[in-house]
């Protein structure tokens, strides 16, 4: 196999390991044309020998080599020099193996046929990550045991999450966060961003479930003035706004199938075409996405593209429910209680022992968001110094076990059971009707917000926001 070493610039060399000679020549020539020094080999053995000799920081590595696998080569390289940025090259159809490589520590992967823009963007990203590391901008990946901002809690379940977040933050790998509603998926996305070399760049969050379908493309990719009715000016979409930083796509499984196709194209090319535009433009973003659904089930049901799933599901992170986080519930409650007490000018100092026991044993189907709702209700309606059982909503004191899910904290103060037929709705405002339907659905599902959300075909977070808003409004109006 060929070997080529050409110095054309003073930058650190790129090690290229590609077994097809013509492709090796092509990539090497492209890299040289962009000012890189290249050392190229066609076998695992030659590539590894050169790696140990030259100690390059950046490697382009074919997934399948005649005398070994890309995975074996990469593992040996990372064991010797863990900070090496390895860009995997794979042919279409080996996506699963490429995902395996990313989880094993690869910086990025490129799918053949590789276009010049994509290749040089990957190389530039890797070089930026390396320069940030050497400038000390990267956080220490081996952080001290304990918490990880912005999370509260040091339970074993969260330590696993923290370790994973720190590990993935240093790379460009797409992160796919799953978990029940209220488990902190957006916080996890923020943590990835903060711990990454892109921390100084923007963090743009987009809730794919909260934006109308016909506006979502414009929200993600932007639009030009006049491109549709209502487009009175140019709009920079979330992808462009996040260039240089991180784009967080929440509730990704609720994205329309047509837009999923465009998102896949964006992920493959790093280019966006705003609505109404004819020319694509390049953006540089790191993608983090999240869902509270089962993504594979969505694929099976035909609601989520399988190829997009594999493109996004590179590094999965599962956020544990609050009931599996041990003492974290107490720690979170006490810290939030202190903050809320300051805001509301109440004298709360903590939770009594009975309340702590109830909190530890409660199922928390709404997780941390539900805990926040409970505490806010307690603080607004009572005064301290300690939170007692009597201050808690009835569903917590009556159903204090893991098995049955409890009702949400915001009690339906202004609701009545929905009567048969439409007569009961006559004369009511749309907002009142909405509240009646939602609260009736919750009753029918024993207070389970996730189940009610599925029945109503909305996201659980949408319901929690409404419950939160109603609780505040009821408190302001003096309703219990």
């Amino acid at each position: 196999m060929t070997k080529d070493a050409t110095s054309t610039a003073s930058v650190a060399p790129v090690l290229l390991i590609e077994d097809t000679p013509s492709l090796q020549m092509l990539y090497a020539s492209a890299l040289k044309r962009h000012g890189n020094t290249v050392q190229a080999h066609g076998t695992a053995a030659d590539g590894l020998a050169s790696f140990h000799d030259l100690k390059p920081d950046l490697v382009l590595l074919d997934l399948i080599l005649p005398d070994g696998t890309g995975l074996e080569v990469m593992q040996e390289m990372l064991a010797a020099r863990p900070h090496t940025r390895i860009i995997v090259i794979t042919a279409n159809g080996s996506i699963n193996k490429a995902v395996e490589m990313m989880r094993a520590g690869a910086h990025e992967f490129l799918v053949k046929p590789i276009d010049e823009t994509r290749l040089m963007a990957a190389v530039d990203n890797a070089r930026k990550a390396l320069s940030h590391r050497s400038a000390g901008a990267l956080r220490n990946p081996v952080a001290p045991a304990g918490e990880m901002a912005p999370f509260i809690g040091a339970s074993p379940a969260m330590q696993t999450v923290y370790a994973r977040l720190r590990s993935v933050a240093r790379s460009m790998a797409t992160v796919f966060i799953t978990g029940e509603s209220g488990t902190g998926k957006e916080l996890a996305a923020e943590a990835v961003h903060r711990a990454s070399p892109r921390a100084k760049g923007p963090f743009i969050a987009l809730n794919c479930g909260a934006i109308p379908v016909d506006l979502l493309e414009s929200e993600v990719f932007g639009h030009l003035r006049g491109s549709f009715t209502g487009a009175i000016s140019d709009k920079q979409g979330a992808a462009a706004a996040a260039s240089g930083g991180t784009l967080f796509l929440d509730e990704i499984c609720e994205m329309d199938l047509n837009l999923q196709t465009k998102l896949l194209r964006f992920l493959q090319t790093s280019t966006i075409t705003p609505v109404g535009a004819t020319k694509p433009r390049k953006v540089d973003v790191r993608i983090v996405c999240a869902t509270n659904r089962n993504p594979l089930e969505e694929v099976r049901l035909g609601r989520f593209r399988e190829d997009l799933y594999y493109r996004l599901h590179v590094v999965p992170i599962a956020m544990p429910p609050l009931r599996e986080r041990g003492e974290d519930v107490i720690e979170i409650a006490e810290r939030l209680l202190a903050e809320m007490a300051r805001e509301e000018e109440r004298g709360f100092t903590g939770l009594d022992e009975e309340t702590k026991g109830l909190f530890r044993g409660f199922a928390w189907p709404g997780n941390v968001r539900q805990l926040i709702n409970v505490l806010r209700n307690v603080v607004v309606m009572n005064d301290g110094p300690l939170v007692t059982r009597a201050m808690l909503p009835p569903e917590m004191t009556g159903l204090a076990s893991h098995a049955p899910p409890a009702r949400p904290a915001a009690a339906p103060a202004a609701a009545a059971p929905v009567a048969e037929g439409l007569d009961a709705l006559a004369g009511r405002t749309l907002a009142q009707i909405e509240r009646m339907v939602i609260e009736d659905t919750l009753r029918r599902h024993d207070g389970s917000v996730p189940k009610a959300a599925r029945a109503l075909d909305v996201s659980a977070s949408t319901l929690y926001r409404k419950l939160d808003a109603w609780a505040k409004a009821d408190a302001e109006n003096g309703q219990v």
């Binding site: 092509l26 042919a91 279409n92 046929p113 010049e116």
Partner: protein, 132 residues
Amino acid sequence: MTETEVSRSGERSVSSGDGNGAVLRDRRVLEAALAFAGPEDRPAILAQMLDDLTRIGAVLSDGQPAAQLRAAHELKGLAATIGAVRLADMAALMQQSQQAEAARTALCMAMCAQVGQLKQELVSFDDSRRAT
């Protein structure tokens, strides 16, 4: 099979295939791929592509199953890069399924024919590029 027999077989199978007949459906893909490289490197890269295709074709024609699978993997990447989409798909098909021997042999022969045709098209492309 000799290279001539492969080429003639390729002509027959391609001409009896779809209307276009060309392995390179869109030469702009090949042009874009070569545009990667510096202009001084392009003739050498094109020549190496022809050598690679000759080598791969020989393995597909006469090689052992394991060698044929490796050749198919190489061909998949190379064909996809220069825009020979159908050939890349055939190579992917060979990799993805556990083919019975008769089916694998037929697939290899079909790919050999396409490889032969592709080489002719690359030579023609190179000739037209030199002429301009």
